[in-house]
């Protein structure tokens, strides 16, 4: 095929993404945080539950590997922060996948069927949109108990609304496009039309929004944990660490500072990567 000689759309998107300094910096930052979150709890000389009474609420120091200091129980904050990162990142990613599945199915069904079904389905989305979603998540967590799997599910079950709107819009826009008619006219099989035209055209905005949804979900998990409704001891997450740090902000401000910095860095990085992906995957949306 002629297309294989010149760089394909994916290669061009990749080149556009790599040319975006903010996005690349964000991606590198995320990689570092992810690798540290995976490795630190394994290799660090201190365990997450290892408490020592002679080192209570010590400020950060390089001696003895307490780089982020210790908490009120004498536990090492460095290992706890990256262990919390594991949970926060996991909740962010899994909740996003759940929201993605619900949103894509809902939006594609509404967009594809159209008519009254579309009207009712999108009216439901409108109504849910108007509600304070954190309240719904808290109701779900209250009712079903705050075990960590249910937190994934509760966040995902509420945060799919924008995804559904995006996918519906994409489906409707694609349904009547000329290039699809041409593809049908030259008798391409449906599978090939889907794989070559519909999915590549719909997947860009979905990936972009999914990237932007991860930090939103991390914030929701953190807010829940902060309120005491999310992750519970002995597990920990950035929200829970921030909560414990906020309680001792006058005597041990580093307990709030380090988890908060990591949380904010992660959020900004995801936003930069998401914006970079939007520019790279969706050339039409560029200003």
């Amino acid at each position: 095929m002629a297309g294989s000689a010149s760089p394909g759309p994916l290669a061009r998107a990749l080149a556009r993404f790599l040319a975006n300094r903010q996005a690349v910096a964000g991606l590198l930052c995320l990689l570092v945080i992810a690798v540290l979150s995976i490795l630190v709890p394994v290799v660090w000389p201190h365990g997450i539950e290892e408490a020592s009474l002679d080192r209570i609420a010590q400020p950060p120091s390089f001696a003895d590997f307490h780089w982020f200091g210790t908490d009120a129980n004498g536990r090492d904050l460095f290992v706890r922060t990256f262990y919390g990162g594991r949970i926060s990142l996991a909740v962010g990613l899994v909740a996003t996948v759940i929201a993605l599945v619900i949103g894509v199915l809902w939006g594609a069904t509404a967009g594809y069927l159209g008519g009254a079904v579309d009207l009712v389905m999108m009216r439901i989305v409108d109504v849910l949109y108007a509600l304070p979603l954190l309240f719904l998540i808290i109701v779900l967590v209250t009712v079903f108990g705050n075990n960590i799997i249910l937190i994934f599910a509760a966040i995902g079950a509420v945060e799919w609304l924008t995804m559904a709107r995006i996918v519906r819009g994409q489906t409707i826009a694609l349904r009547n496009r000329e290039f699809l008619e041409s593809a049908r006219a030259i008798d391409l099989p449906n599978q090939r039309i889907l794989a070559r035209y519909i999915i590549p055209n719909a997947v860009g905005p979905v990936i972009v929004y999914a990237t932007l949804l991860v930090p939103i979900n991390i914030i929701i998990e953190s807010a829940l944990s902060f309120l005491g409704l999310g992750v519970q001891e002995p597990l920990t997450s950035w929200g829970l660490l921030i909560n414990q740090g906020a309680a001792q902000i006058d005597s041990a401000p580093w307990l709030l500072g380090f988890p908060a910095i990591l949380l904010v860095l992660t959020m900004l990085s995801f936003n930069f990567v998401g914006d970079g992906l939007r520019d790279a995957l969706d050339p039409g949306a560029r200003g």
Binding site: R123, V127, A130, L131, P132, L133, L134, F135, L136, I138, V139, L140, V141, T142, V143, F144, G145, P215, I219, S222, A223, F226, L227, G228, L229, G239, I242, N243, G245, A246, I249, D250, P253, L256, A260, L263, V264, M267, L268, N271
Partner: protein
């Protein structure tokens, strides 16, 4: 006049929506496994049965729902299991004035400061000032309240010791400042970005060029021609802004130990107090739906194009 059917139609949909939300959240709390009485301590089965009878939990769901709706119509949201000597309606009546004052103050601050920043940035577009303000706004949107609030407390409450760290005290303004600022910050950031975008779009519109061509002074062009058009997106953002303030108030009231509705809500959620959680959700969901209805009407009235369509 097609205005009346439009208003009526919207009002009917809003009422139905509220009814659906009440039904759905009621069923959710009643059908779920576990109840408020199987918490930490194992209760004697007899005591538990007694408690359930007291709260009407031994009746069939349909009966419970009919009772709940009937009481709701009289403004009674039922008993609270967390605060056994108070009803949910009493708790909300206690907390609402505080939440309302903090929330409205935060909205007023967010709208006025957000508009001012957005207009300033748009008029100085592509300058250092614009870049600085919009950079701060991007950060403000990204920073969650549970990070900014403790830092504000640290700086103004502890290091500078200008303001109380927490509590409602006598309800004087000193106790409001930090919660209101923490609540308003993300909304200031969002509104200023929205205003700047709308201002820039309007500034390059044909009718503004016409106004300038007529020789109107810049100040008058902005005040009479640009602002009314640039404010529209902010009006339609009011719904999400209120939702954001309500959500934020749950966290802010917790951090600053304010006895508002959000704090009761979190206490209720921690203790699986279904009556309390349900009451607050119904209150806030209804308030938001009604507000969105009002915003729709206001928008139709403010925007000549929307007026023409209806």
């Amino acid at each position: 006049m097609k205005m009346l059917p439009f208003i009526l139609g919207r009002a009917v949909v809003a009422a139905l929506t509220i009814l659906v939300i009440i039904t759905a959240s009621f069923l959710l709390t009643r059908l779920a496994p576990g109840g408020p009485f199987d918490a930490e301590v194992d209760l004697d089965p007899l005591v538990k049965a007694n408690l359930e009878r007291t709260y009407g939990l031994d009746q069939p769901i349909a009966v419970q729902f009919r009772r709940y709706l009937g009481a709701l119509a009289r403004g009674d949201l039922g008993p609270s299991t967390t605060y056994p000597d108070r009803s949910v309606s009493e708790l909300i009546a206690d907390g609402l004035p505080i939440s309302l004052r903090i929330g409205l103050a935060a909205l007023a601050v967010a709208t006025s400061v957000g508009l001012a920043i957005g207009i300033t940035a748009a008029r100085a577009r592509n300058s250092v000032l614009d870049a600085g303000l919009m950079g701060a706004a991007s950060l403000g949107v990204a920073l969650p309240a549970f990070v900014t609030a403790p830092f504000l407390t640290l700086v103004f409450g502890i290091y500078l010791a200008w303001l109380p760290v927490a509590g409602w005290g006598d309800g004087s303004v000193r106790h409001w400042v930090l919660p209101v600022v923490a609540l308003a910050l993300p909304q200031i950031a969002a509104i200023s970005r929205l205003t700047r975008g709308a201002m820039l779009e309007t500034l390059s519109a044909d009718f503004v060029r016409t106004a300038r061509a007529k020789g109107l002074p810049e100040r008058r062009v902005i005040a009479v021609h640009v602002l009314p058009a640039a404010v529209l997106p902010v009006v339609s953002y009011l719904g999400p802004a209120v939702a954001g303030v309500i959500t934020g108030s749950v966290i802010i009231e917790q951090i600053f130990a304010l006895p508002g509705v959000g704090r009761y809500f979190v206490q209720g959620a921690i203790n699986r107090d279904y009556g309390l959680v349900l009451g607050v959700v119904i209150l806030y969901a209804s308030a938001l739906i009604l507000l969105n209805l009002l915003v729709d009407f206001a928008y139709g009235w403010l925007d000549p194009r929307a007026r023409a369509r209806t």
